[in-house]
């Protein structure tokens, strides 16, 4: 394990994976909240055009991909805000146009489609010092508004009209969300890769929602899951000699799969003794109930029947109704 850290390329790759694991689920939380889970996938396709352009012009791929991806995101969002993106067709043309343009440009550059694959699924050995500096600088730039503006971004992405009545410029905030997502997608191409980055934006968020309650707890838990699977996947791919992106996403889906039974167990424990609200408007009617006599079983806490706290007494769930001890008999509620 220790020798892993003695390789400079591996140190850079792990740091890049750590940063990606933080920012992708963080911005992904708002993307999922806006019901735009597949936006990251589309932006990944646009970023491929950026990589193709970089190969063609002989420039560093990440900066070019960031610029192209941000431009694509702004176009998509402005079309959406003006109501011009009728259906999904306009977006599909933009996204697949990006993929086709990327493959075409890298072909013309004499690199073939194969040269693209390290950007599609990630590649640990290709993270240069310059890449790492850029990923770190832009990662911090993305993280500051993602965390600092969390209440505003939560309001805008969950209830846009209400956010406007709070004086929030929802158009600007929505644009900010897609720009931050575009930067994140382009930065992630060395670690998870452009085709799988969307999974790192969505799957940890889905897992977090199973594990914790609330928006902010979900944001923190999604980042925790993202960091775990990104660093874990990068380490694992070193030993397995596999593309890190694939392993990171498989790990994320594994965490999501585990979060399901956990959420059921946690939910069951929380539901053990739900409190029934007393109806406010009882009036003179009282609550209708049936008196049962000759009940052979004596209910007590821990007798195995599910209990419900009901006003001033405890009911026991029993064959589809609630039993409450009343003097020498049970009431069926």
């Amino acid at each position: 394990m220790i020798e892993l850290f003695s390789y400079p390329f591996m140190q850079r790759a792990l740091l890049a994976a750590l940063l990606t694991g933080i920012i992708a689920p963080a911005i992904g939380t708002y993307i999922v909240q806006r019901r735009l889970s597949l936006l990251g996938d589309g932006l990944g396709h646009v970023a491929i055009a950026g990589v193709g352009l970089a190969l063609l012009t002989g420039r560093a791929p990440i900066p070019v991909a960031v610029i192209v991806c941000v431009l694509g995101a702004v176009v998509v969002e402005l079309l959406r805000q003006r109501g011009k993106a009728t259906g999904d067709v306009g977006l599909a043309i933009l996204f697949y146009g990006g993929l086709a343009a990327g493959v075409l440009m890298s072909g013309i550059a004499g690199q073939g489609a194969g040269a693209l694959s390290q950007y599609l699924f990630g590649s640990l050995t290709t993270v240069s010092t310059g890449d790492l500096m850029l990923v770190a600088a832009l990662g911090v730039l993305v993280l500051i508004p993602t965390i600092g503006l969390a209440p505003q971004l939560f309001a805008v992405s969950s209830d846009e009209e209400f956010a406007r009545t709070q004086g929030l410029r929802t158009g600007a905030y929505n644009l900010l969300i897609v720009i931050l997502a575009a930067i994140t997608v382009a930065l992630a191409m060395r670690t998870v890769g452009l085709l799988l980055v969307s999974a790192l934006m969505v799957v940890p968020v889905a897992a977090a929602q199973n594990l914790v309650r609330g928006f902010y707890a979900g944001l923190i838990a999604a980042i925790a899951v993202g960091v775990t699977v990104s660093v874990g996947g990068a380490v694992g791919s070193f030993y397995a000699d596999a593309a890190p992106g694939a392993l990171i996403v498989v790990l994320a889906i594994g965490v999501f799969a585990l979060s399901w039974p956990i959420s059921v167990l946690v939910g069951r424990r929380r539901n053990l003794a739900p409190v029934l609200p007393e109806p406010l408007d009882d009036g003179e009617l009282g609550t209708p109930h049936v008196v049962t006599e000759g009940h052979p079983h004596r209910h007590h806490p821990g007798c195995g029947h599910k209990v419900v706290q009901h006003g001033d007494h405890t009911d026991f769930l029993h064959e589809g109704h609630r039993h409450a001890a009343h003097a020498d008999h049970y009431d069926e509620h």
Partner: protein, 260 residues
Amino acid sequence: MSLTADPPGVTLSATDVSVELGGLPVLRGITLSVRSGEAVALLGGNGSGKSTLVRALLGLVPIHRGSIELFGQPVRTFRHWSAIGYVPQRSTARLSGAKVKEVVASGRLAQRPPFVPPRPADRAAVARALKAVGLADRAGDRLSVLSGGQQQRVLIARALAGEPELLILDEPTAGVDLAHQSALAGIVSELIRSGTAVVVVLHEAGALAPLIQRAVALREGRVAYDGPLGALGRTGHGPSGQVHHADVLDPGWLDGAVER
């Protein structure tokens, strides 16, 4: 500033407002003003334009003609949003994973500058709003585990958290039982006493009826009636001899079903 400056105390004024949605006229020449401490009910059948009017008043739908001013400022350039509280028609689909207190806290965003964490005053306002709607003990629960009526009260608490001077509610009593409608009436009467203007869209007056000082009935996008709630039923063209109860609104009249 306009030459016809509003008299003091006017929180909301709409002049000759028309709205078209998808090319169809939804509101036609609506003129309406609401003063501080006044409680106005917007009534009307389905499709009469109540919700569209409320959304136009808040600048959420563009107006085709006319003008809208909030506290003397045209709504397009209005910035003092901390004075406004809005309870939309219940639509909590995207909020369902959030905690109750997180939803209510978003009602303080007009008071909070960006990048500034909530201050003690913000937390206190959120706690007061939750207490006012009787949900203080549910603050940490997911919105999705609450009943429909409780979710409605959460949205009301979100609007109360901003301590508004003008509170606009869109059908706050839909799906809320009478006992909780009375609880809401208690909250609203407290607000009116403290000088808050209240505009409430209602399908039926229900428990809020005693508080309503003025009813504005819309029909096909026009103001069909503007006056005391009690007199509303009698102005309808019901069959002669039919006496409407003062506090019961005949929905058929508003839908046009009882015309002539």
